[in-house]
Symmetry: C2
Subunit: 218 residues, 2 copies
DNA sequence: CCAAAAGTGTTTCCGATACACCCATGA
DNA sequence: TCATGGGTGTATCGGAAACACTTTTGG
């Protein structure tokens, strides 16, 4: 057996957020060929200094968008010949959701091409990133029902209505208020603070926090 | 930005079967260092001639064990530094199940070290393959309830009791006969042939076939 | 007629869904 | 007192689980 062949390895992140009641995906406008001018998922090559794939995707995300300290769930690897015109690249896709107000895009030179784009208006993406995005969105809809990943999307304190809205935007359908509250309560992941949020001319809403902000599957 | 670094990429397969009523995993006894003499999952490096990761894992599996024409589901990628003492290797793990009687192990020089090993008696494996095996088994238990992957495990014709036994061995717990039959019938994936299987001194069992042997999620 | 596995329905339970009214606030 | 969103409970439905007896065969 000869020396094993070597290949480029990369990570890509599908990072979702809810902004103004719509589901957004964090994309980078490419400055160089291939696919110059098109949108792509943030990501990049695995470096020797990355101790793990997880570290790689976090580093790339930070460098390209300023997003830091975020939970990323691995989704799938893509390694078909021809998926990158420059040569073979095996990429590992990750999923994340964040609260967009925790992030200031365009604050560095490198991240100046990062944008929140409406998922519903995303057209063709660079490479096979349209496929990755579609699969990530599908996975997100499962994850949100099945894990505590929604933690990432909300601020430290939030009302149950805000939480429900996040679910509705991600799932793309309305939920029943009473059933949603019963469901979320039975998971026992929240506690009610003694504070309320007053906004507008109506009864103030109780503010909640997560008991444990770590990712956990139900 | 400099040239992207290159890395070894590999695939590994966790191939399960049920033999004599016990759950088995297909392992290779390593002939060379590192981990010489230890068991490992079958797998190997991605070659330039492999047009996809899927093709790579199928090729490796065929070369090392003679197993051919099998459905493999991608599970997860592992890329931590140090998981292979020879240098960094990013590996992509796959899951499969097969009917062990469709395969003749040890029929070639290269595959002479392949063995079916009781999952319950597997000790330490080479590399991080113990982790991969554990995660694969977990995934298998979900897959079997959620997809038609059990197709791979059974012969062309089989009785419902044989099918149920496969589920029981994989899940590691007994199932209720009537509930199992109701459940499997409601998925509408089988048809009853007009033949029966006579074996022993008791009522013959009807033989069934799959309507469609392709992998499908429920 | 006996042993052994095949085959078959009904009841119960629990989680998911549907659904409508009162409450607290500021203007 | 009104407009606005916050907050709450019950009845129904449907799928999952529990559960036991009859049938067919060869010896």
């Amino acid at each position: 057996m000869s020396e094993p062949p070597k290949h480029c390895v990369a990570t890509d992140a599908a990072v979702f957020s809810v902004v103004n009641g719509t589901l957004k995906i964090l994309l980078i406008k490419r400055k160089y060929d291939p696919f110059k001018g098109m949108f792509a998922l943030p990501g990049g090559f695995l470096e020797d200094t990355d101790k793990s794939l997880n570290e790689c995707v976090k580093r790339e995300l930070y460098e390209e968008t300023g997003v830091d300290n975020i939970f990323l769930k691995m989704l799938h690897a893509y390694g078909d010949v021809g998926r990158d015109p420059r040569g073979r690249v095996v990429t590992v896709a990750y999923l994340a959701v964040i609260n967009s107000s925790d992030v200031e895009l365009n604050k560095t030179k490198v991240s100046e091409n990062a944008e929140w784009v409406d998922v519903s208006s995303v057209k063709a993406l660079a490479f096979d990133h349209s496929t990755i995005l579609a699969e990530a969105l599908d996975e997100l809809r499962h994850e949100i029902m099945d894990s505590t990943i929604v933690f990432q999307l909300l601020k430290k304190r939030f009302t149950l209505t805000e939480m429900q809205k996040s679910y509705e935007v991600i799932l793309g359908k309305p939920l029943d208020k009473r059933n949603f509250r019963k469901w979320i309560k039975q998971h026992d992941i929240l506690f009610a603070t003694d504070q309320t949020k007053m906004e507008g001319v109506h009864r103030p809403a109780r503010l909640y926090e997560f008991k444990d902000k770590r990712y956990k599957r139900f």
